[in-house]
Symmetry: C2
Subunit: 373 residues, 2 copies
């Protein structure tokens, strides 16, 4: 099945408008066969919670390279509402019992896992075995071992894996990445990244459940800070120290409430981050030897803005961009799938964060000792 799926996918292979800088590996002969309007790839959303409802489904309405072709839900009521709203065929509607039969559905090219963290690995692997390309929400898994198993399963089944890192498609965030690559202001000295919000009692209650979420603020929001420090330096951290505090022992009985941590990077940069489920903070600050860059807010769906400084003088404003991050993210993956080009937010990219998170929790468990990554 995976091999068939892969072959049928290859028939549709075409070169989309490139969000990717990697050279097109296709021979000239194939280029001549490119249709004028490439087929939109069908995406099935697995899990119809808040993020699917408010962000992904609307983004798929305006997407150019993919569309919402299927849904997977355990809630009968949602099924009828979504089918009516998005004109989804009955045959493209699945539940968690018949999920694996998605393998024979040609309308579904990509499965997007939007389930609680503890189910990411299982459903990614099942989707891979069904021969479907996979987007999995962040964090990709509960830990690096699961993440590696997901990557292995996707490779073994010839499907592509991408993680739901939408910020790689935000123009201002891309500017921060460019500054890390081009280093116009010299070496990177320091990154301060914070991502935190005050979580409600009812919304997404699974996030407060250790078994389902695998952890608290770190898994959900801290991962943005880790990402930010990584793309702001363009380097992988080599060591970490982490600290935890808790003020609401009822609500956060099972998961971390507020965590801070510091990371060492091989080029000498150092980061300090804060994440929390019980306060508001959202910023990325990068200090270069001869300048700085700031995004504040840094991780929101809309409104990301900032400034670039030469020395201490602002030299450029990073204006609010009105792009739909999720639409770009899914379109980018769809084009990559068509072109056979791995996602810029691949499983391997997700795995790097899981390795950091594993080390972070090891540091917390030792009372804040330095842990090598």
């Amino acid at each position: 099945m995976p091999q068939n799926s892969r072959r049928s996918f290859l028939k549709d292979l075409s070169v989309g408008l490139g969000a990717f800088s990697i050279a097109n590996p296709l021979p000239d002969l194939a280029a001549e066969a490119v249709p004028k309007t490439p087929r939109k790839l069908g995406i099935a959303l697995v899990g119809l919670g808040n993020y699917s409802t408010k962000q992904l489904a609307p983004a798929l309405e305006s997407a150019t390279d993919c569309y919402l072709s299927g849904i997977v839900t355990g809630t009968k009521d949602k099924e009828s509402v979504w089918r009516a709203k998005y004109g989804i065929k009955k045959a493209n509607t699945y539940n968690y019992e018949n999920f694996d039969s998605i393998a024979s559905n040609d309308d579904i090219d990509i499965v997007y896992i939007v389930l609680p963290n503890s189910m990411h690995a299982e459903y990614t692997i099942r989707a891979a075995k069904a021969g479907k390309h996979v987007i999995c929400e962040k964090p990709m898994a509960l830990n690096a071992a699961e993440g590696q198993a997901m990557i292995d399963a996707c490779k073994a089944n010839g499907v592509m894996l991408s993680i739901g890192y939408r910020l790689h498609f935000d123009p201002n965030t891309i500017e921060i990445m460019k500054l890390a690559e081009e280093r116009p202001y010299g070496p990177i000295k320091y990154v301060q990244s914070e991502a935190a919000f005050a979580i409600g009692n009812n919304l997404d209650a699974w996030r407060l459940n250790r078994e389902l979420a695998g952890g608290g603020a770190v898994m959900d929001m801290g991962i943005y800070c880790i990402q930010a420090a990584r793309y702001a330096t363009g380097e992988e951290p080599i060591a970490i120290r982490a600290q935890e505090t808790k003020t609401d022992w009822g609500k956060f009985k099972e998961v971390d409430e507020t965590v801070t941590w510091q990371m060492e990077f091989p080029g000498g940069a150092y980061s300090n981050s804060t994440t929390s489920y019980n306060l508001r903070a959202n910023r990325l600050y990068v200090s270069y030897a001869q300048g700085a860059a700031l995004l504040e807010p840094a991780t929101k769906y809309t409104g990301i803005k900032g400034r670039v400084f030469r020395g201490q003088n602002p030299v450029r404003t990073l204006e609010v961009q009105t792009v739909n991050q999720q639409e770009r993210q899914m379109d980018g993956f769809a084009r990559g799938v068509r072109e056979g080009i791995p996602s810029i937010v691949s499983g391997e990219e997700g795995l790097r964060d899981m390795k950091v998170i594993d080390a972070l929790y090891r540091s917390l468990a030792t009372g804040g000792k330095r842990v090598e990554i």
Copy 2:
């Protein structure tokens, strides 16, 4: 001598324009004797380095309640330059050998210690014994024990002690203090404060010398972050954890280069701070339950600005204020001395920071363990 000095000071006692909110303790009879223009108090600067030269002496030129009446320096060349520039009498010029004879000089009411940290305690105590009121630069001492000895000496000699905390006289910083007092946005959840710069090799070389500075970035810049977390919460921290990193083992052989730390406050607030001598960062962010406040930059001599948020919506801009912080600070102390009202940045205020710094270094020494303050 201190008692005489105190008595001669009392003859001049008058009510200045109040920077102080504490009720005037004088009887009505004394109020009738207030002269229209109170005498300006004479200040002697002890140590004519960068801060005295570029900040304090210029500020004293425009001050209304005090003036530069004397200097204490070990450098003959500086003596003549300063005497010429500021019209200082030969008799009001001292060196470190004859410093104690300042006791008999009626032109000098206040001694401002602007020496390397290791000399703060000695010269504050000698000034107190000479019957002079004292302003001492921050950090007030190398540790809390020295700070307590300074407070005791000033009390025993009937003189007032103030620490060079200029930000308490910055209008935008005062807004942050008011928010801590009035709490219009509910409980204080989180403070992020950072103060760091890239230190040169030559300027103020004593700052890189452990014996003279007592420590590195923490002593010089970290104290701003501690102050900020304290005035942003209006509370005293109860525990601290600290982490250190070093990239330049040559320049920072003797002192700390980059340090991060977290503090717990009794009302549940948590802080995360970064200080360094090898990167640039300058910010104060406060997250309240229903709002936030931001100063960026937060500790500069000029240009401090920020915003106040209700929820996540900016509701007020804290515009750049053109006040001279040092002038206000010294005028405020001079009025307090005249009125017999303790400084709002008293020795006790300085001691609170020294206790935190002592705990911070204890935490560093234990590899980042939680230390109660």
